[in-house]
Amino acid sequence: MPRPLPRREFLATAAAALGPFGCERAADRSQTQVALWFSYGGRNREVLEGLVRRYNAVQAQDRVQAVFQGDYFEGLAKLRIALAAGTPPSLTHVVSEVVPYLENAGVLEPLAPYEGASTLDVLPAFRQEQAFRGAPPGLCALPFNRSTPIAYLNRSLFDRAQLEPPRTWAEVRDVARAFTRRGGESRHGFGCPIDWWFWVALVEQAGGSVVEPDGRISLGDEAGVAALEFWQGLARERLMKVPTGRDYNAWEQINQDFLAGRVAMIWSTTAFVRYLEDNARFPVRAAPLPAGVRRAVPTGGTHWVIPKAASAPEKAAAWRFLRFMLEPPQVVDWATSTGYIPVTQAAVNALSERGYYRVHPNDAVALEQLTVASPWPWSIRLFRVAREIVQPRLERVVFAGADARRELAEARALCATEFA
């Protein structure tokens, strides 16, 4: 029978075991601790954690601790709870649609007064005043992982069929039909998550706008109907693989279908360029989204924000970290390791000068699409409109065959009453 450990001996052993941590904590006291909450999974998470390690290694003033908080929506929920509890992180990132909501709630730190804020060389499309239509003056968010939707093609199939990436909606339909196979080894020509983001792209391409310049939530009027009927037709003919599940589960599923060769072409985010290239057993080609009556895409991804309720030293340290992250080496590493768009002009120049885009043309697709990117309206209700009113109706039309016009008319009426 083992001898019971006497209390004194137990305490001595415990103290010895905890000693190294104690020493580290003592050393850390001189540093400002920065709690960074993030929502990147998989490869993107590894890249971010690598950049955080680099920051912690190159300076001694601050120590950034990156903590994973689930997907964007789960991260946002935890941020709100932390804000309500008075224990916010020093730094986090949120999707575009909720920036106006958080700013309106007065929980975001104004960043303009911080040193160097006015000289950041962020790409014009990602500057706050251009990324949001009607944004109030000031700066409350900085871009880091920004994206646009793009098309991914199974190049083996396209080369064999001698087909080019579709440039119009009609060509999308033709390509989808050309690659769709029924029966045992079935394949869909096209696949896309039934998600608000891609529908907004279609609405813009059809010449509409989800929110009109006067603030009216039009959901694109006729363009919204055309966009939804385009999807509905493809799904009804079973030319489009409609992934089950919602939110990012559907995105992940369409990735897996593409990688397994079950779908010849998908729409997804540029954030998956590297992931899909590395994991596909066939060459992957990225292409811009097609045009309806015009070319257009929304931007996606997230913005860094510093909660106002964080302590002053933490906020200053978070700002120093943000400056570091917007330096060309970090922006370049982040973009080239993931597929996100480099957000500063200096980083784009550096990549162009070294011929990166010639070797990696897939990375240039989203960057080129920025020329036709539409800004998001500065609306504190947009994310509610998307989640509560529009998204269920998109599903109802595509999955259950409901009438697109009636559903969108109902959605518009609801927007007018619920968000008057």
């Binding site: 709100r80 804000l83 992934p243």
Partner: protein
């Protein structure tokens, strides 16, 4: 036993009462209060009276979630009990193979919900899943099991039945093995057929077990979350949005604390009604 002082039992109940007060009654009261406010955790809570309940009724979400939960639960309870009872009768005999089958069926119950959900996500894939391939082999078009609102709730119910049938099997087996052999033998001597023996002897003896299995399965299916979270996230078109998932969605995704609280309170009331009904049935069967 009579206590020496009349209030002694109450002192002894205090720890349990304290626990119930702190962890059940206080949160419940808080829930009731929050359900009367419009609150997103960021801005100041705004008193709106019963508006959250009205909004839930107006949008149809409350009825739809309640109906989805009830429909799935009824199917799950009836199917898992029927399958569990049938298997228990078939497997209530000695033998290594029978013991292996019993263990195999029960092993599904021991798996985590997330693993089961991920497994069935692939099995139910509309293109390459085993069911879709069987349909294709027969020359039929496979339904989109998880992508069609008409099929998705039943697919979720079927997965749940597969998972919990082992639980019903074990309890029914225990019930069957408690059945006095002498009564069964007496019935046999009286000329009762196997079916008559089951209807007139076994089934009445299994009543308390049946009630217990029904109640626990019903509560388990009412609390269904993981399988929905992994397989469908409440979709398509909210067809699998059971009450617990709807509450999660209101709170964590739609950022509406008041409506989530209102929905949670309705959930508590429904569960309470079901429990009272079960108690009533239990007492009646004992009487």
């Amino acid at each position: 036993m009579k206590p020496s002082r009349a209030y002694d039992p109450y002192w002894m109940l205090l720890p349990t009462l304290g626990f119930l007060l702190v962890f059940f009654l206080f949160p419940l009261a808080l829930l009731a209060k929050t359900s009367l406010f419009d609150w997103d955790l960021l801005s100041e809570p705004r008193f709106v009276g019963l508006e959250n309940y009205r909004a839930l009724l107006r949008s149809g979400e409350l009825w739809s979630s309640l109906w989805t939960t009830l429909s799935i639960s009824v199917v799950v309870v009836l199917a898992s009990m029927a399958a569990g009872l049938a298997l228990a009768i078939a497997l209530d005999r000695p033998g290594r193979f029978v013991a292996f089958v019993r263990s195999a069926v029960f092993s599904a119950y021991l798996l985590s919900w997330v693993s089961v959900a991920l497994l069935f996500l692939w099995l139910l894939d509309a293109d390459v899943g085993i069911f879709a391939r069987t349909f294709h082999a027969l020359g039929w078009t496979s339904p989109r099991w998880l992508g069609d609102p008409a099929f998705a709730p039943w697919a979720i119910a079927a997965v749940t039945v597969w998972k919990i049938t082992g639980y019903a099997l074990v309890l029914f087996l225990a019930g069957l093995q408690d059945t006095p052999q002498s009564v069964l033998e007496a019935a046999e001597l009286d000329g009762a057929t196997p079916f008559e023996r089951f209807c007139n002897v076994t089934w009445p003896i299994l009543q308390p077990t049946t009630l217990f299995v029904a109640t626990t399965s019903l509560i388990a299916s009412f609390q269904m979350f993981d399988v929905v979270r992994v397989m469908t996230q409440g979709g398509p078109v909210r067809s699998t949005s059971v009450l617990v998932y709807a509450i999660y969605e209101q709170l964590f995704l739609d950022l509406r604390v008041g409506r989530a609280s209102a929905e949670a309170l309705v959930f508590v009331v429904v569960l309470l009604a079901l429990t009272v009904g079960e108690l009533w049935l239990f007492r009646r069967s004992e009487a």
